[in-house]
C-alpha cells in the first residue's frame, strides 16, 4: 500500500505506526524516570529511603558483576520453571479435556491448589527441596501451572463442534482427532495462558529466593534491604523488570510467528 494511495486516510500509514511502536516505550521510560527524579527532588527524600535514578544507575554500573552473577540464577530458575510449569499444565489439560472422570477428579484439586497462598508454600518447598535451584524452580512452576492448565483446557474444551463432526464423518481416530484438530485449535488459548505465565514466572522465583537461598536477585534484594542499600534494591528491581519485559516480548514474538493463522483483531491492517 503506497502512502499516496492510502484507502483509509483516517488511519496512520504503516511506517509511521512502526516508528511510533519503537519510540513509544522510550518516551514512557523517559517520562517515568523524569517523574521519579522530580519526586525525589520535590520530597527531598534521603538516599536510604528513595535513591534518585542517577544513584541507581551508578550502582548498576559499579556493582554489575555482583548483580549479573545473581541475575543468572534468577533467570535460570524462571526460565526452567516456566517450561516445567507449562509442560505440567499441558500434561494436565489434555487428559482433563479428553476424559471426563479425570476432569471431575482433577478440577477440584486444581481449584483447591489455587486457594493456598503460594507465599505460604515457599518455606515448605525450601524445606523439602533445599536452598538450591530446585525449590525456586518448583515455586515458579507452581505459580504458572494454573494459568497454563486452565487456558489450555478451555481451548481444548471449546473446539468447534463442526470440525469434530466433520472429522468423525471422515473416520478420524480419537488420537488423530486430538493431534490434528483439538490440539492445533487450542493453541491460541494455550498461547494466552503461556503469555500470562511468562509475566508471573519471575515472581515465583523471587519469592522462593526471599524465603531461603544463597543466590539470586531476591536474595540480593533482601540482604541489601537489611543493610539499607536501597539503591541496590532498586538496581535488582530494574534488572528484574528488564528481564520480565524482554522475556515477555520474546515469547510473544515466538507465539505470534508460530500461530500466524490465529485471529488477532489488534493486528495492523495491511
Amino acid at each position: 500500500m503506497s502512502l499516496q494511495n492510502n484507502p483509509h486516510p483516517h488511519k496512520k500509514p504503516l511506517t509511521e505506526r512502526r516508528w511510533l511502536m519503537l519510540v513509544r516505550p522510550l518516551i514512557i521510560v523517559v517520562a517515568l524516570i523524569a517523574t521519579w527524579q522530580a519526586l525525589v527532588l520535590i520530597t527531598g527524600a534521603p538516599k536510604y529511603m528513595l535513591p534518585t535514578p542517577t544513584d541507581v544507575w551508578a550502582t548498576l554500573i559499579a556493582r554489575h558483576d555482583v548483580l549479573l552473577d545473581h541475575a543468572q540464577y534468577t533467570i535460570a530458575e524462571t526460565v526452567i520453571g516456566l517450561f516445567a510449569g507449562a509442560a505440567l499444565g499441558t500434561l494436565a489439560a489434555i487428559p482433563m479435556a479428553l476424559f471426563s472422570p479425570v476432569r471431575f477428579w482433577l478440577m477440584p484439586i486444581l481449584l483447591v491448589s489455587q486457594a493456598i497462598p503460594f507465599f505460604a508454600l515457599a518455606p515448605l518447598l525450601v524445606l523439602w527441596l533445599g536452598f538450591g535451584l530446585a525449590s525456586k524452580i518448583a515455586m515458579a512452576a507452581l505459580i504458572i501451572f494454573f494459568p497454563v492448565t486452565v487456558a489450555f483446557f478451555d481451548g481444548l474444551a471449546r473446539t468447534e463442534t463442526g470440525w469434530l463432526d466433520l472429522a468423525r464423518t471422515m473416520g478420524a481416530s480419537r488420537w488423530r482427532l486430538l493431534t490434528h484438530i483439538r490440539l492445533p485449535a487450542a493453541l491460541p488459548a494455550f498461547a494466552s495462558g503461556f503469555r500470562v505465565a511468562t509475566a508471573v514466572a519471575p515472581i515465583g522465583a523471587v519469592i522462593g529466593e526471599w524465603v531461603g537461598s544463597s543466590h539470586g536477585l531476591g536474595y540480593l534484594m533482601l540482604h541489601a534491604n537489611a543493610r539499607v542499600q536501597i539503591d541496590m534494591v532498586f538496581a535488582c528491581l530494574l534488572i528484574l523488570c528488564a528481564f520480565s519485559i524482554t522475556q515477555y516480548f520474546i515469547v510473544d514474538r515466538i507465539l505470534r510467528a508460530a500461530l500466524p493463522w490465529q485471529p488477532d483483531s489488534l493486528k495492523p491492517v495491511r
Binding site: W163, L166, T169, M170, A185, W261
Partner: protein, 265 residues
C-alpha cells in the same frame, strides 16, 4: 470461473444403491423432533429437504451421518448391504475449513485423519475443478466466502464417497455466488446420491430430482415433488415457478398476492 459453460459430466463411479430410512425417531429433552419417519434416497439421485427453521431438517441429515446422540431410534439400510456410515461425505453450512491449514491441506484432511497418504494429484485436480488453483497455498482467512465454500466442496469431493449429505451449504453466500456454486455442485456431484437440506425452494427445484417438505411437530415428510429435466434447472422456467408456488403452499406461505418469497426467506 465460468461454470455455466462447462459440459455436463458423468460421475466416474455412479452410486448404485438405494438408502432406506425407516421408523426414524429423534427426541431432545423428551420432545419428539420426528417419529416413525420413512425416507428413501434413490441411487445416484439428488434429493432436497425443505422446511421451516427448527423443524428438524438438519437433525434428519445428521441422523443419517450417525452424529445425533441421545434418544434416537430407527433403521438405515443400503440396498446392496453394508452400513451407510462409512460411505458418506458431509458438507455443512459453515465451510469448516481448519484455519491453520492451507486450501490444499484442507482438501486432503480426510486422508490425513485416517492416517492414509493423501493423493496429491487428485487434490490438485479437484482444486482446479472448483477454480481454486491459484489459492491452493492460501489459508482460509485469505479467502472470500464463495472461495471457502468451493474449497469445502473440493474437500467433500476428495472423500470420493457414494453418498453426499449437505446441510445448507450455500445459504451464507450472496445470490450470484450461490447460483455459481449450485451449478458447480450439480456438475461435480452428478451420479452420486445426494441429500441437500435447504430453506430455499428455488434452490431445491434447481438442483433436486426429488424435493421433500418436512413440516409439523413431530415433523412429517410430504410426498416428493419431482421437477422435470436435468439439474441445474432454469429458475425462470414457468413449470419450476409453479412448483415453487406448490412448495411455498406446503410450507404454509400465503401466495394469493405473490409467491410469498418474503414469508419463507
Amino acid at each position: 470461473m465460468r461454470d455455466t459453460e462447462q459440459a455436463p459430466q458423468q460421475a466416474q463411479n455412479p452410486t448404485n444403491f438405494d438408502i432406506h430410512l425407516s421408523g426414524a425417531r429423534v427426541a431432545f429433552g423428551g420432545v419428539d423432533i420426528f417419529d416413525d419417519l420413512d425416507l428413501t434416497l434413490r441411487a445416484g439421485s439428488f434429493t432436497c429437504l425443505l422446511g421451516p427453521s427448527g423443524v428438524g431438517k438438519s437433525t434428519l441429515l445428521r441422523f443419517l451421518t450417525g452424529l445425533v446422540e441421545g434418544d434416537v431410534s430407527g433403521n438405515i439400510t443400503c440396498s446392496n448391504g453394508g452400513i451407510l456410515r462409512n460411505r458418506i461425505a458431509y458438507m455443512a453450512q459453515q465451510d469448516l475449513l481448519l484455519p491453520w491449514r492451507t486450501v490444499r491441506e484442507n482438501v486432503e484432511l480426510g486422508a490425513v485423519l485416517r492416517g492414509e497418504r493423501p493423493d496429491h494429484a487428485r487434490a490438485e485436480h479437484l482444486i482446479a475443478e472448483v477454480g481454486l488453483t491459484d489459492a491452493a497455498h492460501l489459508r482460509p482467512a485469505k479467502l472470500s466466502g464463495g472461495m471457502k465454500q468451493r474449497a469445502a466442496l473440493a474437500r467433500t469431493l476428495m472423500e470420493d464417497r457414494p453418498v453426499v449429505l449437505m446441510d445448507e451449504p450455500f445459504s451464507a453466500l450472496d445470490p450470484v455466488n450461490r447460483l455459481r456454486l449450485q451449478e458447480l455442485a450439480a456438475r461435480v456431484l452428478r451420479g452420486k446420491t445426494v441429500l441437500l437440506v435447504t430453506h430455499d425452494p428455488l434452490e431445491a427445484l434447481r438442483l433436486g430430482d426429488h424435493v421433500h417438505v418436512l413440516s409439523g411437530a413431530p415433523a412429517t415428510l410430504a410426498d416428493a415433488i419431482t421437477p422435470d429435466g436435468q439439474s441445474p434447472r432454469n429458475i425462470t422456467d414457468p413449470a419450476i415457478l409453479a412448483q415453487q408456488a406448490e412448495l411455498l403452499r406446503q410450507l404454509g406461505a400465503d401466495i394469493s398476492t405473490d409467491y410469498g418469497a418474503e414469508a419463507v426467506s
